[in-house]
Amino acid sequence: MLTVLVANTKGGCGKTTTATHLAAAFAGAGLKTALADCDRQRSSLGWIAARPAEAPAIAGVDWVKGPGKSPQVDRLVIDAPAAMRMGGIEELILEADVVVVPMLPSVFDETSTTRLLTKVQAVKPIRKGKKALGLIANRLRPRSKAGVRLERFADEQTHELVGRIPDRAVYADVARDGLSVFDLRGTRGEALRSDWLPIVRFCENQA
């Protein structure tokens, strides 16, 4: 089993979008997948509840009151709570094989991401390079000032930017229906998921 932790302390940075898309990517490739929701808002679990029966199945796990027993699956994605205290995140990192940190192109996000990365860096397996951590730029607008700034910010970090997800209306649409771009058919789906495959690859290479 490979466990992927999706974490950032600030809300609205695309944490649930990332967690649901990674889960859908694993399930769509024929892997037995579960999504554990640690966030009080339970958005990931809501997404699973809305998911149509014909879409590749993803098991929802409620970890809002803290991590419980790991389900017997090939891939487990953990949607970490926003506003995490140090003890909480350390426990989740030890649970995970790989950590991905989504962030937005905004000054506020840089501050919260820096704070999170400092905390995360203190956890031994991350500090020692035993567990990989990747940054994801979310809602990126091509050639925007903020986008350039975010790339520069990412360059300064010890961890690599492993994915760039453009800002598109489709994400709001699919989220409402419990779907992801991995569930869209045809060339449109293929084009959209090409943005996510580098992140999937990053996770898979830790397996």
Binding site: L2, G28, G30, R201, E204, N205, A207
Partner: protein, 524 residues
């Protein structure tokens, strides 16, 4: 080929190569030594061309999988092979609509092995194009069992990015029945001159060509023995790990570009010897003698290459670094490099020899049939069925006793006596390594730490002996320059050895006082 529920086939095959004329002759005039086989006619040659796919970051390769699409009689057939250990692999075949792989055709339980994989990530990596000639060998044992193997001769090439490499190999694949027929056919092919065992797949060679990589050595996988398993079962699992390590490094050693190849092959052979020694009490004496003899021969053939690797790669550099412009040392280095090339040629000759091929083949068969049970008389049978923990305690005690005996009056031992002691320590070490999982980790670690430290100290003394023996082999008498360099090196290592002399006595004392971990639970 046997099928399991998911439609996955488990494949068992043996591959041999050799000089072209010998390989063709072995195929065309094929006869088996045993009686009762029917050798089928040669079927008309078929052209097989296949394209292999992977992701740009080679995730299939990382998971020991190979995915290819092959054109056959106007159809496209996709095949996925996944290696399971050194001897077996899983295979799944399905007809595709076109030349592109179709992942949805793979059985559901194979997907987790491959990980999250999307078809659009797959690109062609390399292609193979061979003419395949086949014939069938059938044996009816007259007792209700029919075995069939296919003998195929593949001749052609593998190509990637404009580069090509020739392929010429014989493949013996079990289609039905008893694996023994594969080994018998293998022996006959060796007799006919196809004497080089090939362990790597065409796919492995394709990847090397495409990515410009060389075959690299692999270490043994850690083994977990269980206290309640039988002695025979435990020996089987040790042998499996030995043979797996052996086969995984065989082609690497033959290739020679990764110096670890010869080293890891030697480690595998040494582990075989120590397994034979540790379990010698439960093995038939004639079998034990034959296996030990062949293993000793392989070690001797590989020895000079390893010694010169160490000499050129580890012993010479510190001295050369201290004396940068020393002409005598520079000449010695050239001489040593020449000797190393010659030693590697000797390795290649040995690894392609009929003696080596037969040894590997018979050892593999002995392992696969758990031949030690068939070898055993009634008394040995009983012991093979006994519990491992009693046996382990017995072996460890014997080894430790041998060390105590050799180490008596430690301070007065001469060079030869010390060498003998070093060897008994090595045997003890192997026994500890084999059986350590049966005991609480902490006492084992403590014991092993003292043993290792002592062995390291002996190692420094052995460095000098090794340098001496290498130099004796490459420096001709009367060559003043080389003799000068030789003196320099021996002086350096003699000094290093004398520096650890005091340490050695202390390490011996510490080891002699170590509490044997296999006795800790003895008293209740």
């Amino acid at each position: 080929m046997t099928n399991d529920a998911a439609g996955l086939a488990s494949e068992f095959e043996l591959k041999l190569a050799g000089p072209r004329a010998a390989v063709l002759q072995a195929f065309e005039a094929f006869t088996v030594r045993n009686h009762g086989e029917q050798v089928g006619p040669m079927r008309p040659a078929r052209r097989l061309s296949a394209v292999y796919f992977d992701t740009p970051d080679r995730r299939l390769l990382a998971r020991s999988a190979a995915l290819r699409v092959r054109r056959e009689n106007g159809n496209f057939v996709q095949a996925l092979k996944i290696a399971r250990g050194a001897l077996d692999r899983l295979e799944h075949e399905a007809t595709t609509r076109g030349s592109a792989p179709e992942l949805e055709l793979l059985p559901a339980d194979i997907r987790p092995v491959l990980g999250a994989l999307y078809a659009e990530e797959l690109t062609p990596v390399f292609a193979t194009d061979v003419q395949r000639r086949r014939r069938e060998i059938v044996r009816d044992d007259g007792f209700g069992r029919v075995s069939r193997v296919e003998l195929a001769l593949d001749e052609g090439e593998v190509s990637a990015g404009g580069r090509t490499e020739p392929i010429l190999e014989l493949e013996v694949e079990l289609k039905q029945g008893d694996r023994a027929l594969v080994f018998d056919v293998g022996e006959s092919l060796i007799d006919a001159g196809a004497t080089r065992i090939i362990n790597s797949s065409k796919a492995a060679r394709g990847y090397q060509l495409a990515d410009g990589t060389t075959p690299t050595a692999t270490k043994a996988v850690k083994l977990r023995l269980l206290p309640n398993e039988s002695v025979g079962d435990a020996f089987g699992r040790i042998m499996e790990s030995v043979v797996t390590q052996w086969l995984a490094n065989h082609d690497v050693a033959f290739d020679g570009r990764d110096v670890e190849g010869v080293h890891q092959l030697r480690v595998a052979v040494r582990r075989l010897r120590s397994a034979l020694t540790s379990f010698g009490l439960v093995l038939a004496p004639e079998r034990l003698a034959w296996l030990k003899g062949e293993a000793r021969w392989v070690m001797a053939e590989l020895g000079p290459a390893r010694d010169l690797d160490v000499f050129c790669g580890e012993m010479l550099p510190p001295i050369a670094a201290a004396r940068l412009n020393d002409a005598a040392l520079a000449r010695l280095r050239c001489t040593a490099e020449d000797a190393r090339s010659a030693a590697y040629e000797r390795v290649r000759v040995a690894l392609a020899s009929p003696r080596y091929a037969r040894f590997v083949l018979r050892l593999t068969q002995w392992l696969m049939t758990r031949g030690w049970h068939a070898d055993a008389d009634a008394a040995l049978h009983l012991q093979l069925g006994g519990p491992l923990d009693d046996f382990a305690r017995h072996v460890l005690e014997r080894r430790a006793k041998a060390v105590r005996k050799r180490g008596r009056h430690f301070a007065d031992l001469d060079i030869d006596e010390r060498h003998e002691l070093r060897k008994t320590l090595k045997k003890l070490r192997y026994a500890v390594e084999f059986f350590r999982e049966l005991y609480a980790p902490k006492p084992v670690k403590r014991y092993l730490a003292r043993l290792e430290k002592l062995q390291d100290a002996f190692g420094h003394m052995n460095d000098m002996a090794a340098a001496e023996s290498v130099l004796a082999g490459i420096v001709e008498q009367g060559d003043a320059r080389l003799t000068e360099a030789k003196g320099l090196i021996l002086g350096y290592y003699a000094h290093a050895a004398s520096a650890v002399e005091d340490e050695l006595s202390a390490d011996w004392q510490a080891f002699a006082a170590a509490e044997p971990f296999w006795k800790v639970h003895g008293r209740c």
